[in-house]
C-alpha cells in the first residue's frame, strides 16, 4: 500500500500524524524526516538530493523556530514546502528571445523522452504568442522520425524543414538561413534521442551549437526517470551547457522526483511540463505550484496556516473537517471568499486549491470583481439554498439573479464552479492514482 502512495500522500500521512500531536520534540521531527526521506526516494528523488534536502529541513525544523512556535506541525510543513520550492526554484523562467532573430531552440535528450512531440507542442505555444516557428527535422537515425515530425508539425500548423538524412549539422545551418530569408522568428531543432555516454552523437550536438547560434538548449526528460535522471542531466549540461529542462509525461502517476533532482544538480530551470498527448498539453513550470502539488494538491494544512491570521483556529479546524468529509456548503464557499479578501490575493488560494491546475481555473475567474459578484449572489440566497444548492431551480435562480443584480447565467456559472471545487475536494481524499501526483 505504502508503495503506491504518492509523495504527497506520504507527506500528508506523516504530517497528519504530526498534527495530531501537540508540541514536537527533536526526536519526533527526526522520525518524521526519516519518513520524508523514504517518501522522497520512493518518488525517485536522487539519493544525494534527498539527503541534502533532509539535512536542511531538519536543521530548520529542529531549531527554535519550530519549538517556539505555537503550532509546530504546521511550521514543519511550511519549512518542507519552502525547501521544496527553493530546490526547484526560482519561479517560472520564460524562453529567451535572441537579440538577432531567429531565436534558435535545440531539443535534446535520451531516446523516447518525447522530443519530437514536444517540438510540435512548443510550436503551438509559440504561435499562440504570435510567433512564427519553423520546425527542423534533425533526427536522421530513428526510422520515420522525420515523418513523425512532419505529421505533428502539420497538426501544430507549423512548417517543417527537412533535408532527409543529410548531416543534421548542415541541415540546422540551412534551416536557420531559410528561416532568416522567409521571416520565421523561431527555429526549433528536433534531434535524435541519444545516450549521454554516446560520444559520437554528443559531439554532433556540440557541432550544431557551433554551426548555428543557439539561444535555448532544452533537455527533454521523461518524468518517470529514476535515479539516473541526474546523471543524464549532468552529462548533457556539462557537454552542452543546457539552458533549461522540459519534463514530459507528467500526466501519469509518476511521483516526479526528477523534478526535484534535476534543478538541484544542474542549476538549470525546468521551463515546461508536458501533461498529455494533445498538442495543447504543455504548461509552464511553476516551482511553487509544483511544491504544493507534491505536498498534497491543495494541502489543506497549508491553507489553514495561511488563513490563520484571517480565521480562528476553531474555524480552520471546521473547514478542514468539511473538506475531508465533503460537507462543504455555499456558506463555507462564501466565507472562503471573505477570508480570501482578508488574506489579500486570489492567487494564493488558487495555488492551494486541490486540482486547480488540472481544472484550469483562469486567473480572471478569481479577480476582485468576480469575488464581489460571488458574494452578492450567495448573500441573495436563503440559508437553506446555501446548504442545499441542489434545490436551486430556475425560479429560484431568477430570484437570486434579481436580488444580486446578476444574470441566471452567472448563477449557473457559480454553481458549476462550486461543484467543481467539491469534486476537487473529493478527489483530494480519494484515490491517489487519480491525482496528477
Amino acid at each position: 500500500m505504502a508503495l503506491f502512495a504518492s509523495l504527497s500522500e506520504r507527506l500528508n500521512h506523516i504530517f497528519s500524524k504530526l498534527t495530531k500531536r501537540g508540541k514536537l520534540t527533536e526526536l519526533e521531527i527526526r522520525q518524521a524526516m526519516r519518513e520524508v526521506r523514504i517518501a522522497l526516494l520512493e518518488a525517485d528523488v536522487n539519493l544525494k538530493v534527498a539527503k541534502n534536502f533532509i539535512a536542511e529541513v531538519s536543521e530548520k525544523a529542529v531549531g527554535q523556530q519550530v519549538l517556539a512556535s505555537l503550532n509546530p506541525a504546521q511550521q514543519v510543513i511550511k519549512i518542507v514546502n519552502e525547501e521544496l520550492i527553493a530546490l526547484m526554484g526560482p519561479g517560472n523562467v520564460k524562453l529567451e528571445v535572441a537579440p538577432k532573430l531567429p531565436t534558435v531552440i535545440m531539443m535534446c535528450g535520451l531516446q523516447g523522452a518525447g522530443k519530437t512531440t514536444m517540438c510540435a507542442k512548443l510550436a503551438v505555444q509559440l504561435k499562440k504568442q504570435g510567433k512564427r516557428p519553423l520546425l527542423v527535422a534533425g533526427d536522421i537515425y530513428r526510422p520515420a522520425a522525420i515523418d513523425q515530425l512532419k505529421v505533428v508539425g502539420g497538426k501544430a500548423g507549423a512548417e517543417v524543414f527537412e533535408r532527409g538524412t543529410q548531416d543534421p549539422v548542415k541541415t540546422a545551418k540551412e534551416a536557420v538561413e531559410y528561416a532568416r530569408k522567409m521571416g520565421f522568428d523561431t527555429v526549433v531543432i528536433d534531434t535524435a534521442g541519444r545516450l549521454h555516454i554516446d560520444e559520437r552523437l554528443m559531439q554532433e550536438l556540440e557541432n550544431i551549437t557551433k554551426a548555428v547560434e543557439v539561444t535555448e538548449i532544452l533537455l527533454t526528460v521523461d518524468a518517470m526517470t529514476g535515479q539516473d535522471a541526474v546523471n543524464v542531466a549532468e552529462t548533457f549540461n556539462q557537454r552542452l551547457n543546457i539552458t533549461g529542462v522540459i519534463l514530459t509525461k507528467l500526466d501519469g502517476d509518476t511521483r516526479g522526483g526528477a523534478c526535484l533532482s534535476i534543478k538541484a544538480v544542474t542549476g538549470k530551470p525546468i521551463k515546461f511540463i508536458g501533461v498529455g498527448e494533445k498538442m495543447g498539453d504543455l504548461e509552464p513550470f511553476y516551482p511553487d505550484r509544483m511544491a504544493s502539488r507534491i505536498l498534497g494538491m491543495g494541502d489543506v494544512l497549508s491553507l489553514i496556516e495561511k488563513a490563520q491570521e484571517a480565521v480562528t483556529e476553531q474555524q480552520a479546524k471546521e473547514l478542514e473537517k468539511k473538506m475531508r468529509e465533503n460537507t462543504f456548503t455555499l456558506t463555507d464557499y462564501l466565507s472562503q471568499f471573505e477570508t480570501l479578501k482578508k488574506m489579500g490575493g486570489a492567487n494564493a488560494l488558487l495555488a492551494m486549491l486541490p486540482g486547480a491546475g488540472k481544472y484550469k481555473i483562469k486567473e480572471g475567474d478569481l479577480d476582485e470583481k468576480r469575488i464581489e459578484r460571488t458574494r452578492a449572489i450567495i448573500l441573495s440566497m436563503t440559508p437553506k439554498e446555501r446548504d442545499n444548492p441542489q434545490i436551486i431551480n430556475s425560479s429560484r435562480k431568477r430570484r437570486i439573479a434579481l436580488g444580486s443584480g446578476t444574470t441566471v447565467q452567472d448563477i449557473n456559472q457559480l454553481l458549476k464552479q462550486f461543484e467543481q471545487t467539491k469534486v476537487m475536494m473529493k478527489q483530494m481524499k480519494g484515490k491517489g492514482r487519480r491525482m496528477p501526483f
Binding site: A43, L110, G252
Partner: protein, 298 residues
C-alpha cells in the same frame, strides 16, 4: 559465448558504480548497522524499490549474523545469491508455437524497436514471423515499424493511421492463421497506465486475439525502459491487472541506468524478464539471464 556476455557488458557501467560504491563501503565501514543502511541506499540508487532494498538487506544481515561470517566476499556473494533468487521467483515462460506476442507499455519505452529486434530473433531461429502495426495513434509509428519489418525481412499487416487498432489485430490474426505463421508480433501504441480509456482499448485488442485465435499461445510482454525509476512498479501492476502479463522486455540497458526495479517486479509481481535490449541495432537483443544480470548489476 559472447551471447550471454552482452547483458553483463551492457551493465558494465552499472557494475562499475555499484561495485565501486560497495568497495568503498567495505573499506570505510565495519559490517554493522551503518553498513547495512548504506548498502540499502546503494541498492536504492540503482532504482531498486525501497521496500525490496529493505527486504534484501534484512535477509543479507540475518544470514550474515547467523553464519557469523563478516568478510567482504561473503557478503557480496550472499547479496548476489539473494538477488538472483528474487529474479528466479518468476520463471521464464516456455515459448510454444504458433504464438501471438503483444507488446504493451507507456510512451517512448521502445516497443516498436523491440518488435523489430524480436522479429529478427525469431527469424534467426527459423520461424516465420508477421508483425502487426496496431499503433495507429502515434504519428508515423506505422512507417517506423515498416522500416524494422524490412530490416528483419518479415511481413507486416497494417491499416491507415488513426484506424481502429483492434481491427488491425483482427486482420493480422486472420492472416497469421491463414498462412500458418509461427509468430505474430503485435505493436501497440504507447499509453500511460493511468488512462482508463486507453487501457480499455488494450483490453479489447486482448479479447480479439483470445477470441479469434484460441489455438495460439498468447504472450503479453510489458516493455520497460531501464531508465525508469520506481514508477515501473505501478506500470507493471496496472498493465498486469488489465491484460495479465507473461513477461517484461527491459530496454535501453546500454545506458547508465540500472533497471533495479526488476527485482520487485519478479519478486512481488512474479513477472519474469524475458528479453533485454542492449542497443539500437537489429541484433541488440538478448534473452534475459538472471545470473548474468546480477553479475553485471553488482
Amino acid at each position: 559465448m559472447g551471447f550471454f556476455g552482452r547483458i553483463r557488458d551492457a551493465l558494465k557501467k552499472t557494475k562499475e558504480s555499484v561495485a565501486h560504491k560497495m568497495r568503498q563501503l567495505f573499506l570505510k565501514n565495519k559490517i554493522g548497522d551503518a553498513f547495512y543502511d548504506e548498502l540499502e541506499e546503494i541498492l536504492i540508487s540503482a532504482d531498486v524499490s525501497v521496500k525490496t532494498a529493505e527486504q534484501v538487506v534484512a535477509e543479507v544481515k540475518e544470514e550474515a549474523i547467523e553464519s557469523k561470517i563478516k568478510d567482504e566476499q561473503f557478503v557480496t556473494d550472499l547479496l548476489k545469491d539473494i538477488l538472483e533468487e528474487t529474479l528466479n521467483e518468476a520463471p521464464m515462460p516456455k515459448i510454444q508455437y504458433p504464438c501471438v506476442m503483444m507488446f504493451v507499455g507507456v510512451n517512448g519505452v521502445g516497443k516498436t524497436t523491440t518488435i523489430g529486434k524480436v522479429a529478427n530473433y525469431f527469424v534467426r531461429n527459423k520461424k516465420s514471423v508477421t508483425v502487426a502495426a496496431a499503433d495507429t495513434f502515434r504519428a508515423a509509428a506505422i512507417d517506423q515499424l515498416g522500416v524494422w519489418a524490412d530490416r528483419a525481412k518479415v511481413r507486416i499487416v497494417k491499416h491507415e493511421e488513426g484506424s481502429d487498432p483492434s481491427a488491425v489485430v483482427f486482420d493480422a490474426v486472420s492472416s497469421a492463421k491463414a498462412r500458418g505463421t509461427d509468430v505474430l508480433l503485435i505493436d501497440t501504441a504507447g499509453r500511460l497506465h493511468v488512462k482508463e480509456n486507453l487501457m480499455n482499448e488494450l483490453k479489447k485488442m486482448d479479447r480479439v486475439v483470445e477470441r479469434e485465435f484460441p489455438e495460439a499461445h498468447f504472450y503479453k510482454f510489458l516493455v520497460l525502459d531501464a531508465t525508469t525509476g520506481q514508477n515501473a512498479y505501478s506500470q507493471a501492476k496496472v498493465f498486469k491487472d488489465a491484460v495479465s502479463l507473461d513477461g517484461i522486455v527491459l530496454t535501453k540497458l546500454d545506458g547508465t541506468a540500472k533497471g533495479g526495479f526488476v527485482f520487485s517486479l519478479c519478486g512481488d509481481l512474479h513477472i519474469p524478464v524475458v528479453f533485454a535490449g542492449v542497443g539500437e541495432k537489429l541484433e541488440d537483443l538478448e534473452l534475459f539471464d538472471a545470473e548474468q544480470f546480477v553479475e553485471g548489476f553488482i
